[in-house]
């Protein structure tokens, strides 16, 4: 394009200012992308939750257990297709910082309810036969370099005296939903139940129910809670997505926090770049006037200013997104499973780039309009 030389020449007029402005964009875009990825990680559980699943927990809270006897009673409610129960294990692998979720699972019903988790049949069969067996998510196995047949010791102090439980890795599961969780560790509930103190025996941490029809969710949920009302362990039943959302909220209103920080980043960037563009245009008043005098139209002057701010936004945006592409996997690995997996999707990158261009256009618009409305006679008189 024949005007590109003029645009780029003006862009590189003050190199330090250009570098700082591009740097502002890059940092802001990196922060934006990182926040979007963290937000995505928290909301992914909700998005991927089965629409036809309910979660039943103790009304007091997730830390309180429910009697195992509820299993048959829940199963008897019309509309319930399968029921499975889990228990939090909470062991430590080598070091406390190596956190990952561990569940004692009901091997008879787990696969029917949690259908997104795929374990090869032969591996599942070995797991079922092996009382000390375990299944790990592919991501978890990769994280610690585990392979089938490995012996995995988990130190546990939650149930009686501190002791080390030994498990044989019989299987590795994959999640067939893109971005789905592959960080869990499963052991057999029966093995768990046999080795915990009497107070914990025959209990479930929570139940997961698969429905015949998702439309029955409200009715079945109400029926379950009504059934156990006024019992020693009242229940709270909600859809799996609501459960996931409430679980995430235990950490605070992440979404609000992220939106607030994101908005601050947006407006700060807008002010910084808007001010930079305004100064840049003001410095060139006489040059813009000359351009208009020799025949450049108001629109072309607006175009030059907008093009400059968009090029800055594009370069800064691409740098910021590149930084995010490099840094997010490293940050994710450093978090060691403390957060759900941090996934940088193409849609987040596209939104990020769109965000950068939007800020670029907005910051160049006012100075551009000012340049467009510049009266040549007045501007030349100022020289």
């Amino acid at each position: 394009m024949k005007f590109s030389r003029l645009i780029f020449a003006n862009l590189f007029r003050k190199k330090a200012r250009l570098i700082l402005t591009i740097g502002s964009f890059a940092i802001a875009l990196f922060l934006f992308t990182f926040l979007a990825v963290v937000k995505g990680a928290f909301s992914r559980g909700t998005e991927l939750a089965g629409a036809d699943r309910l979660v039943v927990i103790n009304r007091v809270g997730l830390i309180q257990t429910l009697p195992l006897s509820y299993d048959d009673k829940i199963r008897a409610i019309s509309g319930v297709k399968f029921v499975t129960h889990n228990h939090w294990f909470g062991g430590v692998y080598q070091d406390e910082k190596n956190f990952f979720p561990q569940f004692a699972v009901d091997i008879e019903n787990h696969r029917q309810v949690m259908t997104e988790f795929k374990v090869p049949d032969d591996q599942w069969s070995n797991f079922v036969k092996d009382q000390q067996g375990a299944v790990a998510g592919a991501g978890l196995a990769k994280r610690f370099g585990w392979k089938i047949g490995d012996r995995i010791p988990l130190k546990n102090a939650l149930y009686g005296t501190t002791k080390t439980w030994e498990f044989n890795l019989d299987g590795i599961y994959h999640n067939d939903k893109p971005g789905g969780d592959e960080s869990q560790f499963w052991l057999q509930w029966k093995y768990f139940d046999e080795n915990v103190p009497a107070a914990v025996k025959s209990t479930a941490g929570w139940y997961v129910i698969k429905l015949d029809n998702p439309d029955d969710a409200a009715r079945v949920g109400k029926a379950i809670d009504t059934l156990f009302a006024n019992s020693s362990s009242e229940t709270k039943t909600e859809t799996e997505s609501a459960f996931q959302a409430n679980f995430a909220k235990q950490l605070g209103n992440i979404e609000f926090l992220i939106l607030t920080i994101g908005s601050v980043v947006f407006f700060t960037l807008l002010l910084v770049t808007g001010n930079t563009m305004a100064i840049s245009v003001r410095e060139r008043t006489s040059e813009l006037a000359v351009l208009k005098a020799i025949g450049f139209t108001d629109r072309s002057v607006l175009f030059f200013v907008l093009a400059e701010s968009l090029v800055i936004a594009l370069i800064g945006g691409v740098l910021g997104l590149g930084l995010a592409i490099l840094a997010i996997p490293v940050v994710g690995a450093t978090l060691n499973g403390l957060l759900p997996p941090l996934l940088l999707s193409v849609s987040v990158l596209s939104v990020g780039l769109g965000f950068a261009l939007l800020v670029g256009a907005a910051s160049g618009l006012l100075p551009g309009i000012g340049a467009m409305r510049l009266r040549v006679v007045n501007a030349l008189r100022r020289v």
Binding site: R5, L6, R13, V290, I294, G295, T297, D298, L380, V383
Partner: protein
Amino acid sequence: MIRVDGRSDSASLIKVRGLNKTYSRGGEQIQVLQGLNLDVDKGDFVAFMGPSGSGKTTLLNLLGGLDVPSAGSITVDGDEITHMSASKLTHWRARHVGFIFQMYNLIPVLTAFQNVELPLLLTKLSKSERRKHVETALGVVGLTDRMNHYPRQLSGGQEQRVTIARAIVSDPTFLLCDEPTGDLDRKSADEIMALIDELVGKYNKTILMVTHDSLVAARAHMTLHLDKGVLVEGGKSPQQVLAGGAA
């Protein structure tokens, strides 16, 4: 032939009739130009002189289509420009007017070549055609060997030559010079005036120039004085001109 009595019947290149320009400043109406007439033919070189605030630059701005008059008309090569829309006027300027400013007003981040090329970016010329035109213009002003220099690498006189090359590169109908030597030493001023003389004498360019320097003005075909908003030839009073005294 240059006339200021408004009686020329010939098809002048530039024809100004009854030109008025009034500014409003602090609620007060200031009449800068009043009923001004002017006829300039192709190849004429006219200098405007007058005290500060007499309206010289205002007249130049009106002739160049940078400002609009309060009353009267300006016709250039058959086109009446006083009633053109702003956008039409912009296109007209690109085609018909070459500007030479006192402060050169080159784009500092562009080389001499790129500065001269600017007006051609508005045309449909190809890159190679543009190059040919720019090299020719720079050749006329004697700066072919400086075409890749930035303005900061040139002397004041050389910068003004680049401005002249930028003004002539698109072969406009006429050139407007606002104090072209005002920021130069005598030697550089003489060189620039020699160049302007050459543009008139050799290339038959029509030039209208504002200057404070009587030596510079002396090189024009005619010097007109702006006095009380009226153009006056040497030896006449504004009253005579307003009364329509014969030249």
